[in-house]
Subunit: 340 residues, 2 copies
């Protein structure tokens, strides 16, 4: 984990989390010392679906140690952690699995077991991210100039990242010449977090407004577009951060590879195609301003979906920790999951 | 001029300009009472290439009235106005033409002649914009839901606007159901100005992050995309505000009409195609922040072109005040300019 940022820092039995809201202005860690500090962190200061799962697992370990290992206390801690961000699937799953695992043990073993479980989870996350990144390296041309979108680095996964780990690992191995990153309105994860992670990892980096992406991609200054995924349907249609679809259209126009990098846990065979993927709409006030600053008139309506769906016909490859799927994706993704 | 915003207000011999930097928070006019107030307005408080031309013409009239009609004074005023924004082509042309016209007259006639000339120029701008908007109405489907980009309303042209005038005039005539507008990073003209102009004109309006445009265009909620142009090459390739090209790619994917609305003065037959159109790059600090707020790390490089070029094969029609060009554009644009 020398490369890039560290969103969780484990020292002995101490867990500290990086306050992502303070980035890039300040690198500030705070300690998880109670269920309440973990819940507040989940609600406010950490983000990224896989990272939230890790934080939930450590939160349950801290609950058992600081509040007590009895069933009532653990149930109450699990409810508090889940409620801090009710829509985070990885968080809810990690908390529930930790709770069930603990309840199956005698009370005096629970605190240690939950701690070991969380540490294992972190180790698995790092190993899975690394496996994915290594697969991704095979797709890079020489001295690759990559465009990416949103934030898919350590700050998102808690490991070494997904799409961005291909860039940072590739840079370590001399395969990456440059990384372009979009601002990623409205929440600006690219401008705030990806730039900082790339700087921290020493990768030559250029930031662009989302509006400049299509022109850049077709200008001859980019060799490959690599992005993450929130959910991949059985046919390869991919939901990811709003703006991804536009990048795919530009890549196809430029005849450049458009690559999705995401763990197999993102593949949802219950969704036959993109039309079945539910799209979350976020608050209107994220559009027309940022932070305390407003630039749009009061009372303006806003269209603010969190994700868009990139149709599978625009996707060159889907890289996972188990291998790389190619079109047609229906059969190819199935083979990956079956370990074929 | 009842509809929408009025960037210049003429009362008797008094000219007031709307301070566009104060929008949308405040609607504040200030008087042009000296060459210096006009120059400061050009540098800071008004924008839009055609509007800057008008302001230059009124600036020369005010120079003759307040500073004097002698050749030395007028030459000095022209130099001051041009220097306030050296890259503004319409401004430079309007100032030079006013200067030459004045110098051809006896000194005592110059102030009145420059004033009449500026008022004529404003009347022509309004008439030309109106002619363009009427042509544009012919392209609208019933109860059209339009997506537009950047700012192409009265605040940009000083008349009734170009692409946005099709929307406001269409709305007056019951042809427009809804207008979607992008934020238009990095300078946010869509979020700050177009929203305000549409609200002022009473058009039902929704603002979206630039990242959401491709998803919206392909979602079935938009019928037509209409944008302006900064320069149109002989073959129809069109330079316009950064982000336009991405909207065109999305419109083509969705099989929707993608329409350019711009006066014939924008057509540059000296440019055979888009590759010959020079693209201005703007300061890096416009990316990674807005106004006094920074969200990117210090020292990050930025890619910040002012324009992109939409290839002619993506453009459904080019609407001008003289008529509408259709592919193949080479011959069609030529016929328009010849009045055919």
């Amino acid at each position: 984990m020398a490369r890039g940022a560290m969103p969780l820092r484990i020292t002995g039995e101490r867990v500290e989390a990086l306050d992502q809201t303070a980035l890039p202005a300040a690198v500030r860690y705070f300690e998880f010392d109670s269920v309440e500090t973990v819940a507040e962190a989940i609600a406010m200061r950490v983000r990224g679906a896989p990272l939230l799962g890790l934080v939930g697992a450590f939160g349950m370990a801290i609950a058992a140690r600081t509040a007590g290992p009895d069933a009532a206390t653990l149930h109450s801690a699990a409810a508090r952690l889940r409620a801090a961000r009710p829509t985070a699937v990885d968080l809810g799953r990690a908390v529930d699995q930790s709770l069930q695992a603990a309840l199956a043990l005698p009370e005096h073993e629970r605190a240690d077991a939950l701690w070991l479980r969380a540490c294992d989870y972190l180790a698995c996350r790092r190993a899975e991210d690394l496996a994915l990144a290594r697969r991704g390296l095979e797709l890079l041309p020489r001295a690759a100039r990559v465009l990416t979108h949103c934030n898919t680095g350590p700050l998102a996964t808690g490991g070494i990242g997904t799409a961005l780990a291909i860039v940072t690992l590739g840079h370590e191995r001399g395969l990456i010449a440059h990384c372009f990153t979009t601002e990623t309105r409205p929440l600006l994860q690219g401008a705030r977090l990806t730039t900082w992670e790339l700087q921290t990892a020493g990768v030559p980096t250029t930031l662009l407004p989302d509006t400049a992406a299509a022109g850049l991609v077709t200008s001859g200054q980019v060799d490959i577009v690599i992005v993450g995924a929130d959910r991949i349907a059985a046919n390869g249609d991919t939901a990811n951060k709003i703006g991804t679809f536009g990048l795919a259209l530009a890549a196809v126009r430029a005849r450049l590879p458009f690559v999705i990098a995401a763990p197999t846990s993102t593949i949802d065979f219950a969704c036959p195609d993109g039309a079945a993927i539910p799209i979350e709409f976020r608050p209107a006030d994220e559009v027309g301003g940022y932070g305390g600053q407003r630039w749009a008139p009061d009372g303006i309506a806003a269209y603010n979906p969190a994700f868009d769906v990139t149709p599978a016909d625009l996707v060159t490859a889907i890289v996972t920790e188990r291998g790389t799927a190619r079109p047609p994706y229906g059969a190819s993704l199935q083979r990956l999951l079956e370990g074929g």
